[in-house]
C-alpha cells in the first residue's frame, strides 16, 4: 500500500493535540509551536496531494481503507479518499487551520486547552472532507460542534449577545439541523439497504442504490438533508446563528467556522444530497434558488445595518453562502463548479477577514466601526490584509472569488433568469457595506488613541501571507482551482443527469 497520505493529514493535528495534553500548561511557546508543526505537516501534505492529484484520471484518489471493514453490519468502511471536489476543501481546511494557529498566537489565557480544542476541531473538519463513507462523514460532521462550543464560551467575547448565548445558539442550531439530517441519513440507509440487498454506506455505493429510489422518497429525504446542510451553510431562514455565533467566537473559531465548517454544508449538499437524491434535488432546486437569492439579498441588507465588524462579515458570509445555494440549485456543471469554487474562495476570504478583525480587536479592544478610523496609517499591514479580504468579498477580479462568482452568475442567470438577477444585484450591496466597513475602519483621520498600536508582525503575519497569497494566486490562475474541481464535478453531474433522465426529469 502507498503511503497513507490522507490518514496522515488527518492524524497530524490529532497527534499534535495528544502531545499537547502532556505538555505543562505554562509552556506557552512550545504549545503553539507544536500546534503549528502539526498543522504544517498537514498543510504540506495536502498541498502535495493537491498538486499530485491526477486530474486526467479524476475520480477518487489517495484511497485509504476502502477495503477495511469498519462496521460490517452497516456496510461501513473506513473509506478515506478525495476527488476534485473534496481536495480543494481539504486544502482550504489546512490553509485556514494553519493560519488560525497563528491568528491565535497571542492567546495567553489557558493556551493549552485552546490549542488542543482547536486542533481537534480542525481535524474534525478535515475528516468530513476526506471521508468517503456516510457514517464516517457523520462521525466527523458533528464532532466539530463541541470543541467550538467550548472555545466560544471560554475565549469568546460578549457584545450584542453574550458569548454563552452565541455559543449555545450556534451549537443548538447546528445540532438540531444535524438531527434532521440524521433522520434523513438513517432513512436513506434503510432504504438503500433494501434496494441494494446489502448495507453499503460508501458514497458511491449508497448513491447507486439511492438514485433508484422513487421520487417521493427522494423528495422528503432531500428535504431533510436540505434542512440539515442548509442550516450548516446558513441558508436563509436558518441563518440567524451565523452572525451572532461569529461575533461571539474567538478569532480562530470564526475563521474556521466561516472558512470551512460552513462549507461542510455546501459540500454535503453537493456530494451527498444532490448526488444521492437527484430527483429530490431537481424538485427542490427552484426553492433552493429562491432561498439562496433571498439569502444573498437579505443578508447583504442585514450587513449594511451593522456597526460591529464581525457582524458585517457574519452577515456577509450568509450572503455569500446564498450564492453557493443558488449555484447548487442550478444542478449543472457550471453551477456546481461555481458552488465549490465559491466555497473555497469565500473560505479563504472570510478567514482572512476574521483574522484581521481579530487582530484589530486584539489591539484596539473594539470592533465597533464608529470607534475606529484611520488605522491604515497606524497599522498598514493590517490594512492591507483587511482590504484584500474586503476586495475579495466584493468579488474583485484578480482575487480568488471573482471567477467563482462569475461562473455562479452564468449558471444561475441561465437557469433561473430573473430570480438570479436579484442575487447578482447582491454585488452592489456587498460593495456598499464592505467598502463602508473597510473605509470607516481603515481610512479617515487617524485616532490618537491608536497611535501606539503595533502593526502585525512575525507570526501574526502568517494568516495574511498564506491566505493573501492564495487569494491572489487563485484569482490570477483560476484554472489551478477550476481544473481540479471540474475533474470532480463532471463525473458527479454525469451521474445525476443519468439518474434524472431515468426518473423522467430533465
Amino acid at each position: 500500500m502507498d503511503f497513507p497520505i490522507l490518514l496522515t493529514i488527518l492524524l497530524a493535528p490529532l497527534v499534535a493535540s495528544l502531545v499537547l495534553m502532556f505538555i505543562p500548561k505554562e509552556e506557552n511557546i512550545l504549545i503553539k509551536s507544536i500546534s503549528a508543526a502539526g498543522m504544517f505537516v498537514s498543510l504540506a501534505l495536502s498541498l502535495y496531494a493537491y498538486f499530485t492529484y491526477n486530474q486526467d484520471i479524476g475520480g477518487l484518489q489517495f484511497v485509504f481503507g476502502h477495503d477495511m471493514p469498519w462496521i460490517s453490519d452497516l456496510g461501513v468502511t473506513f473509506f478515506l479518499a478525495v476527488d476534485g471536489i473534496s481536495l480543494p476543501m481539504l486544502l482550504l481546511t489546512n490553509l485556514i487551520g494553519f493560519s488560525a494557529i497563528f491568528a491565535s498566537w497571542n492567546i495567553n489565557n489557558r493556551p493549552k486547552e485552546f490549542f488542543i480544542l482547536l486542533l481537534m476541531l480542525i481535524a474534525g473538519v478535515m475528516g468530513t472532507f476526506i471521508a468517503h463513507d456516510l457514517f464516517i462523514f457523520l462521525l466527523f460532521y458533528e464532532v466539530v460542534v463541541i470543541p467550538i462550543y467550548i472555545l466560544v464560551i471560554i475565549w469568546g467575547s460578549s457584545k450584542r449577545v453574550t458569548k454563552e448565548y452565541a455559543g449555545m445558539k450556534l451549537t443548538m442550531y447546528l445540532l438540531i439541523g444535524s438531527g434532521f439530517l440524521l433522520v434523513g441519513v438513517i432513512a436513506l440507509f434503510v432504504k438503500t439497504t433494501a434496494i441494494a440487498g446489502h448495507p453499503d454506506m460508501s458514497f458511491t455505493g449508497m448513491a447507486m442504490a439511492a438514485q433508484q429510489l422513487g421520487e417521493f422518497d427522494q423528495i422528503w429525504l432531500f428535504a431533510l438533508m436540505l434542512f440539515g446542510f442548509g442550516s450548516l451553510i446558513s441558508m436563509w431562514p436558518f441563518h440567524s446563528w451565523s452572525p451572532d455565533g461569529y461575533a461571539g467566537a474567538p478569532t480562530a473559531v470564526s475563521m474556521i467556522h466561516a472558512g470551512v465548517l460552513k462549507k461542510i454544508g455546501g459540500y454535503g449538499l453537493i456530494k451527498i444530497a444532490v448526488y444521492m437524491l437527484p430527483l429530490g434535488a431537481s424538485f427542490f432546486a427552484p426553492y433552493m434558488a429562491v432561498l439562496g437569492v433571498i439569502g444573498v439579498a437579505y443578508a447583504a441588507m442585514g450587513a449594511m445595518a451593522q456597526k460591529d465588524l464581525k457582524y458585517v462579515v457574519g452577515y456577509s458570509s450568509v450572503s455569500h453562502m446564498g450564492y453557493v445555494i443558488l449555484a447548487v440549485a442550478c444542478l449543472n456543471v457550471i453551477g456546481i463548479n461555481g458552488a465549490v469554487a465559491n466555497m473555497f474562495a469565500h473560505g479563504v476570504m472570510a478567514a482572512l477577514f476574521f483574522s484581521m478583525i481579530g487582530f484589530i480587536y486584539e489591539k484596539t479592544h473594539t470592533r465597533w466601526i464608529p470607534d475606529m478610523g484611520g488605522l491604515a496609517r497606524q497599522t498598514p499591514r493590517l490594512a492591507v490584509g483587511f482590504m484584500l479580504a474586503a476586495m475579495a468579498s466584493l468579488g474583485l477580479p484578480g482575487l480568488v472569488s471573482f471567477v467563482p462568482e462569475f461562473t455562479i452568475f452564468i449558471a444561475s442567470f441561465d437557469v433561473y433568469g430573473g430570480v438570479a438577477v436579484i442575487g447578482i444585484a447582491g454585488i452592489i450591496i456587498t460593495a456598499l457595506y464592505v467598502l463602508r466597513a473597510g473605509a470607516n475602519t481603515l481610512f479617515g483621520p487617524p485616532r490618537p488613541e491608536y497611535d501606539h498600536l503595533e502593526d502585525i508582525k512575525g507570526p501574526e503575519m502568517v494568516p495574511l501571507v498564506v491566505l493573501g497569497t492564495v487569494l491572489v494566486v487563485g484569482g490570477c490562475l483560476p484554472s489551478l482551482l477550476f481544473d481540479m474541481i471540474n475533474s470532480g464535478v463532471v463525473p458527479l453531474h454525469a451521474a445525476i443527469s443519468d439518474a434524472l433522465q431515468l426518473g423522467g426529469k430533465l
Partner: protein, 484 residues
C-alpha cells in the same frame, strides 16, 4: 399426577447456573468477611468484590456460545442472557472500582458490597428468567437490594426519603405488575414465557389480556422509568448515594429491559400490533419529557436522572418493531449506556467527596482543577446525547434504523430531542469549562477512579469510533434470542 414425576422428568443441569452460584457465593463471602475483618481494613472488601466480579466476568465470557434451557424453559442460558449478565457485571465492576472512597466514607462496606452483588445476582436471574416466578423473584431481589442501598446513608434525610419513596412505589408497582402477570397466567394457564407466546398466538385477543398488558407495561415501565411511570426516579436518584444511583440507573434499567424484551417479544408477539404502538408512544413521551424537564435542573444528579429517563425512552425505541435488529439495538445501547452513565456518576461521586455538593453551580472551574474529571464528564454526557464519535451516536443509529419504516415520526422525535438534550449537557460543560474555580487547588484523582474513568471514556470512544466488533457480538447475542 404423583409429585415425584416432576422431579424425574424435568431436565436440570446445575452447571448452567454457574454464574449465579458464583455470584451468590461471592456476595455471601463478602458479607462474612465483613464480619471477620476488623473495621479499619474493610476497605479491602471492595477489591475482593471487584476481583470476584472480574473472575465471574471471565467465566461468563468463557461461557459465550452456550445455549441451555433449564426446566422446560423456566431458565434460559443463551448469548442473550450472557450478554446482559456481562453488562451488569461490567457496570458493577465499574461502580465498585470507581466509588470505593465514597463507600469507605459511608461505612458498612461489607453490607454495601454484598448488597450490590446481590442486586447483580437479581439482575442475572432476570436476564435468564424464562418464567414469571423466576423473573419476579429476580426482580424483587434486585429491587429490595436497591431499596436498602438507596437509604444506605440513613443519617441523611434525603437518602432515607429516597428509600421510602422507592420502597413504597416499587412495592406498588410490583403489585401492578403481578396483577398483570397473574392475568396472563390465568389466560394461558402457563407462566413460562415461551409457552405463553405459543398459546397467545393462537388465542383471540381477550379484554383481560389487554388489561394484563397494560398493567405489565406500567409495572415494568416503572422499572425502566418510562414516562408517566417515571416519577420516582428523579427523587430516588437524587437522594440515593451516588454510586447507588449509578448502579440503579444502569443495572436496574438494563435488567428490566432484558426481561421486557423476553416478555414482550418472546411472550407476546401474537399481539405485537397492540403493544407496539403503545411502546412507540411511551418512548416518544419519555424522550420528550425526560429531556425537557432535565433542562431546568440545577442539581447534577437530578439532571442525570432526567437524562436517564430520556435514555430509557431511546432504548424503548428498539422494542417497537420486535425484530432482531431492534433487540440488537437495545442491547448495544444498553451496553454503551453503562460506560457513559458510570463515567458521569463516578465523576459526580468523586467530586462529591471533594466539594461536598452535587449542585451544578459548584462544578465551576472543574476543568481547571482536574481536566480529567471534566473531560470524562463531558464525554459521558455527550455520549448520552449521541454526539459522534462517541458511542451514543452509533447506538442511536442502530436503534432508530429499525423504526424508519412505519414509525418515522418517532425517529424525528428521538433525534431532535437528543439534540435538545445537548442543551443541558452543555450547560454542565459551560460551568466546568468557562468559569474559574472558587478554590483553585488541583484535585488529585486517585488511581482506581482514574482507571475507571479512563476505561469508561476509552470504551465510549472506541465503541463510538469503531462499533463494528461490539456490533458483531451483539448481533450474535440477539440472534440467539429467537432460537428457543
Amino acid at each position: 399426577m404423583p409429585a415425584d414425576m416432576f422431579v424425574l422428568t424435568l431436565p436440570f443441569d446445575p452447571s448452567a447456573l454457574t454464574l449465579e452460584m458464583l455470584m451468590a457465593v461471592l456476595a455471601t463471602l463478602v458479607l462474612i468477611m465483613g464480619i471477620i475483618v476488623p473495621k479499619g481494613s474493610r476497605h479491602g472488601l471492595g477489591w475482593v468484590s471487584l476481583l470476584g466480579i472480574l473472575g465471574i466476568l471471565a467465566v461468563a465470557v468463557s461461557l459465550w456460545g452456550e445455549k441451555r434451557e433449564l426446566l422446560n424453559g423456566m431458565y434460559l442460558l443463551d448469548n442473550y442472557a450472557l450478554f446482559w449478565k456481562i453488562t451488569f457485571m461490567t457496570a458493577a465492576a465499574l461502580v465498585i472500582l470507581g466509588c470505593m472512597r465514597f463507600i469507605d466514607n459511608m461505612g458498612n462496606q461489607a453490607e454495601y458490597y454484598s448488597l450490590t452483588l446481590f442486586a447483580t445476582l437479581g439482575m442475572m436471574v432476570m436476564a435468564s428468567a424464562g418464567d414469571f416466578i423466576t423473573f419476579y423473584l429476580g426482580l424483587e431481589l434486585m429491587t429490595l437490594s436497591f431499596v436498602i442501598l438507596v437509604c444506605f446513608r440513613k443519617t441523611d434525610a434525603k437518602s432515607v426519603e429516597a428509600g421510602i419513596k422507592y420502597l413504597l412505589l416499587a412495592g406498588m408497582s410490583s403489585a401492578v405488575l403481578l396483577y398483570g402477570l397473574t392475568l396472563i397466567y390465568g389466560l394461558t394457564g402457563s407462566i413460562t414465557i415461551l409457552e405463553i407466546g405459543r398459546i397467545i398466538a393462537m388465542q383471540p385477543l381477550s379484554p383481560a389480556l389487554v388489561l394484563a398488558v397494560v398493567l405489565v407495561i406500567a409495572g415494568l415501565g416503572f422499572k425502566i422509568s418510562a414516562v408517566p411511570f417515571h416519577m420516582w426516579s428523579p427523587d430516588v436518584y437524587e437522594g440515593a448515594p451516588t454510586p447507588v444511583t449509578a448502579y440503579l440507573a444502569v443495572g436496574s434499567k438494563a435488567a428490566s429491559f432484558a426481561i421486557i424484551m423476553r416478555l414482550f417479544i418472546s411472550g407476546l408477539p401474537g399481539i405485537w400490533e397492540n403493544w407496539a404502538m403503545v411502546m412507540a408512544i411511551l418512548a416518544a413521551v419519555t424522550i420528550i419529557v425526560g429531556n425537557l424537564v432535565a433542562i431546568p435542573q440545577t442539581n447534577i444528579k437530578r439532571m442525570l436522572a432526567y437524562s436517564s429517563i430520556a435514555q430509557a425512552g431511546y432504548i424503548l425505541v428498539g422494542l417497537v418493531t420486535a425484530t432482531e435488529a431492534g433487540i440488537k439495538g437495545v442491547m448495544f445501547y444498553a451496553f454503551l449506556y453503562v460506560f457513559a452513565t458510570m463515567a458521569a456518576f463516578v465523576v459526580v461521586a468523586y467530586y462529591y467527596n471533594v466539594a461536598g455538593s452535587d449542585e451544578l453551580k459548584d462544578y465551576a472551574g472543574l476543568a481547571q482543577r482536574s481536566p480529567l474529571l471534566a473531560a470524562v464528564m463531558l464525554v459521558a454526557l455527550l455520549s448520552m446525547a449521541g454526539i459522534p464519535p462517541l458511542a451514543g451516536f452509533a447506538g442511536k443509529f442502530y436503534l432508530f434504523k429499525t423504526i424508519v419504516d412505519g414509525y418515522l415520526w418517532l425517529v424525528f422525535v428521538g433525534l431532535i430531542m437528543s439534540m435538545v438534550s445537548v442543551y443541558y449537557y452543555l450547560r454542565v460543560a459551560l460551568v466546568m469549562y468557562r468559569d474559574d474555580p472558587v478554590d483553585a487547588t488541583p484535585i488529585s484523582v486517585s488511581s482506581p477512579v482514574a482507571v475507571t474513568l479512563v476505561f469508561a471514556t476509552i470504551a465510549t470512544l472506541v465503541i463510538g469510533i469503531c462499533p463494528g466488533p461490539l456490533s458483531e457480538i451483539v448481533n450474535g447475542a440477539a440472534h440467539t434470542f429467537f432460537l428457543h
